[in-house]
Symmetry: C2
């Protein structure tokens, strides 16, 4: 009784994260009512991106070229390497900090129960890279979750094996936050690792 | 420094309703990381939908064919016609009620300030249709907003001109709601149009 192509479109929108039946419907109607040009463009770019964007062979980040622009850049500091779990984490660091070193994107975290071991995270290539001797410090910026911590521990050992200094971003109270609303784990950690006031 | 195609993709996702920079980024990364097949499918269906889905020449709803399946169906009651503002409203009625009549989708509401008059809503074709004499009742299901009410008023006059009985869905307290949380306008209206208990 209804338009099959429209139903297919609603169904197709549900592949997006956080998009359920109702939102997918709203997106489909919105594109058809008010955003046909944008929809056409999205279809083109999405189709092209899905085919052309692969992974940088050096840092495993998304890249259209075999080597991503960051890895190919001569102006980045090759002594610093920052390991992150996902491309989104890499982008967050790139946008928020003045970091000028290179990255290594794990595309996941160690999770033996899900069959994700060192090989799936490309840690053999990371090992080879650390063995080259150019990297002096490995900044381990995995997420502060159980699996992220386990991954960080593994990476730190790997770095030490190759004589590279492992480091990680400071953990503690977020700036602008209020003690009252900080979760227990963070507060306890921040309290335990307090430093002398300058 | 970053992948241009990826940036284009993030930008393209922003055409969707309620999607800002951050959500668009999440969608782009999600599709590339875990949903390439779904992304490919979305690109295809979206491209096809934007080109092929037009409007039914009789009810103005979205349709791939000149006449939509509902208008073309012989099993719908042609004596009943329901006017709604948008295809989404039509779908909501179709899914929630057992209505077996036909629809007329205004694709908007009267809004002189935005240059939307009777012609933009296709009311001349609606007038011609009412003049054919088959429709006996016009159910006016516009939204209960100021513009929706004005549109309803106009449609009711149009119906009476052609000897068609105008009607509208009942307004009042929503089922399952609590008096305390109902907005004033609704409560006042429901109180004023109270009926005797059966």
């Amino acid at each position: 009784m209804s338009v099959p192509l429209l139903e297919q479109l609603v169904e197709a929108f549900r592949v997006l994260p956080g998009v359920g039946q109702k939102t997918a419907q709203r997106m489909a109607y919105h594109v058809l009512e008010r955003g046909r040009d944008g929809g056409r463009r999205l279809a083109e770019v999405l189709g092209e991106a899905v085919e052309k964007i692969g992974h940088c062979e050096r840092c495993r980040d998304f890249s259209e070229t075999p080597l991503c622009p960051t890895c190919a850049s001569a102006s980045r500091d090759a002594h610093l390497l920052c390991a992150v779990e996902s491309p989104a984490d890499r982008l967050a660091i790139e946008q928020a900090t003045g970091y000028r070193g290179l990255y290594f994107v794990l595309q996941g975290r160690l999770s033996p129960l899900d069959g994700i071991g060192p090989r799936e995270l490309g840690l053999h290539t990371l090992g080879e890279r650390l063995a080259e001797g150019e990297v002096q410090e490995l900044i381990i910026a995995t997420n502060p979750t159980v699996e992220g911590e386990a991954t960080a521990h593994y990476l730190a050992q790997l770095a030490r094996q190759h004589g590279v200094r492992p480091s990680r971003p400071a953990h503690g109270l977020p700036l602008g936050g209020e003690l009252e609303y900080v979760d227990r784990g963070t507060l306890s950690h921040a309290f335990g690792s307090r430093g002398e006031m300058p």
